[in-house]
């Protein structure tokens, strides 16, 4: 227990240092914009001309104008928003907005999450089926498996904009194109992991089943499938993270309609940095939640199967 406590304090310290560093970084990042605003409001700024300030280093400006430091954490459109600004924006766009509102992060998060989940379900299902085929058919193993492995080294996400546009031109839009991208991104990790898992029983165990006179399907259901579970969950965690990235990237070429990717793109078009950061954190929370949920299912399943370490 004491080691757990120690780890807790260590993580807390690291997080505190990160937040402190973040606040400190806001000062030089935002100082130029702040000084321009303050000058317009009539404050005495050192040096007074904007041209001189442009050539000066950020740190020199901070030293000369220390009165402006608090303002660097309160800007409207800062280069780097302070943590509390992001937190306030997230609070306002989640709790204080109706979830049907176009400005609600929960609405946009749901748009992305639904595409992610649909794509993930399709990709995982097909991936498991192909893995079963590869394990049972030597021809498929020889011809398909190398391509599944090679696909892991290729940035196949580059296909995303084309899929959106092509499906749109044949009249399919909405959730399906994004789900297609999520599906193929989660498909290949699941195939590779699942093949490894279904092959994980060793020769001794396979021989034992043969001495029992087990049929091929019995061998599959009673030995190969249970043995593959740890591998399956590992690749599911990779797959869901890839699915989420796919759904976010899939929202970019449609011109920022709805979803977290659209929030990112709209934020970068209009310089709404606080909006970008809050969308980014929403995506991070979503990803962490999905991975944690899979981890929970993994622990429960493995415990019930008696495989938990």
């Amino acid at each position: 227990m004491t080691s757990g406590l120690k780890a807790f304090w260590a993580v807390l310290t690291v997080l505190t240092v990160i937040v402190a560093f973040w606040y400190a970084a806001c000062v030089p990042m935002n100082i130029k914009g702040v000084l321009t605003e303050q000058e317009r409001a009539g404050a005495k700024v050192q040096p007074p001309s904007a041209k001189d300030r442009r050539d000066m280093s950020e740190f020199g400006l901070v030293l000369n104008n220390s009165f402006a430091i608090p303002a660097t954490w309160e800007q409207d459109r800062p280069r780097l928003p302070a943590p509390h600004q992001v937190a306030i924006e997230m609070w306002e766009t989640t709790v204080q907005k109706k979830i049907t509102s176009k400005r609600s992060l929960i609405y946009h998060g749901w748009v992305t999450l639904s595409a992610t989940m649909l794509g993930f379900a399709i990709g995982t299902g097909l991936g498991i089926l192909l893995a079963v085929g590869i394990v049972h058919s030597r021809v498929m193993d020889l011809s398909v498996m190398p391509w599944a492995i090679v696909s892991q080294t290729i940035p196949i996400i580059a296909l995303a904009p084309m899929i959106i546009v092509v499906l749109y031109s044949v009249g399919i839009q909405g959730i399906i194109p994004k789900a297609v991208i999520s599906a193929y991104l989660s498909f290949f990790p699941v195939v590779v992991g699942m093949v490894k898992g279904l092959r994980s029983p060793d020769a001794m165990q396979l021989d034992l089943l043969r001495t029992y006179g087990a049929s091929r399907s019995q061998g599959f259901w009673k030995l190969r499938l249970p043995a593959s579970m740890p591998y399956l969950f590992t690749s599911l965690k990779i797959g869901i993270a890839a699915s989420l990235v796919g759904a976010i990237v899939g929202e970019l070429p449609t011109g920022a309609v709805a979803g977290l990717g659209a929030r990112l793109l709209a934020g970068s078009y209009y310089g709404q940095t606080v909006q970008i950061w809050s969308a980014l954190f929403a995506a991070a929370i979503l990803a962490a939640g999905l991975v944690a949920l899979l981890g929970l299912i993994e622990r429960t399943v493995l415990k019930r199967m008696g495989m938990a370490q």
Partner: protein
């Protein structure tokens, strides 16, 4: 119609040949291991060509492989310029900076237990996040040119590399460490002669994962703004103009670059960790 029947026949032929290869006497040799996937790939491309022509699929939905190949050869100078901009300048420089920084950080994390306890959970957490989302912020900070793409790549590869390297540096067993102790080895000696070599398989695992991440980061970051050059830029603008043959040509480049990059790292790994069981065939 004849072309469609041809496609079906081609499929049957390819499958039959691979079936013979798989059940034949040479099924486990290296040659079959290379030839069978090649036959499968060529069958798919042949079917693609025949079906696109036979069913008269419009170019804006799916161009035939021959059209893509012609476009690829015709626009080699553009493709090369995009390759240099995105892969060499953006991805490769970010990859080197990010992996180097993560490696140094990993040594520090390994040296001080407090850092390991505190930073590793954070690193594991961050490694699972959609980091590509930082692209709009970094593009805003570092401008439209390749510097911002390199920055995205740095952030993307840092944590997977860090987590893998730290795991690797803990790989040497207590027995081996004790042996170094009995030799009166200093920290540096035991690091250079025992723990760093033992960590190499993990380090290379991190490096290999990072190759794909680097390409993804560099290409996706260009969707958020870039000069009129680069693979991500070309893909998004060509999609807008519905010249899908160009998009496919860029994807071919991305595929070749990704495989070559991964292959290069894997070859260095083979040369440096020849002693590891996984490399002794």
């Amino acid at each position: 119609m004849i072309l469609v029947i041809g496609a079906i026949l081609l499929w049957l032929l390819g499958w039959w040949v691979n079936g013979r290869l798989a059940s034949g006497p040479y099924a486990d040799t290296r040659i079959v291991g290379v030839v069978a996937p090649l036959i499968f790939g060529l069958t798919i491309i042949g079917m693609w060509e025949l079906l696109v022509r036979g069913l008269e699929v419009p170019l804006v939905i799916l161009p035939a492989p021959s059209v893509i190949a012609v476009r690829f050869v015709d626009s080699l100078p553009i493709l090369w310029a995009d390759f240099v901009q995105t892969i060499v300048k953006g991805a490769l420089s970010g990859y080197i900076i990010g992996c180097g920084a993560a490696f140094l950080m990993a040594i520090a994390v390994d040296r001080w237990d407090f850092l390991r306890l505190g930073l590793l959970p954070v690193g594991n957490f961050v490694a699972a996040l959609p980091i590509v989302g930082t692209a709009p912020i970094l593009v805003m900070w570092f401008g439209f040119d390749w510097h911002s793409k390199a920055a995205v790549v740095v952030v993307m590869v840092f944590f997977p590399m860090l987590v893998n390297t730290v795991a690797g540096l803990r790989e040497a067993t207590a027995m081996q460490r004790d042996l170094m102790e009995t030799y009166a080895a200093t920290y540096l000696q035991s690091f250079l002669k025992l723990r760093l070599p033992a960590a190499m398989p993990f380090v290379f695992n991190g490096l290999k994962i990072s190759t794909t991440l680097a390409l993804i980061g560099a290409i996706v970051a260009e969707f958020f703004g870039s000069p009129t050059l680069g693979m991500g830029f070309r893909i998004s603008t060509s999609v807008g103009q519905l010249s899908l043959d160009m998009v496919w040509a860029e994807i071919v480049v991305a595929a070749l670059a990704g495989t070559a990059f991964y292959g290069a790292v894997a070859m260095i790994e083979k040369a440096m960790t020849f002693w590891h069981p996984s490399q002794r065939g």
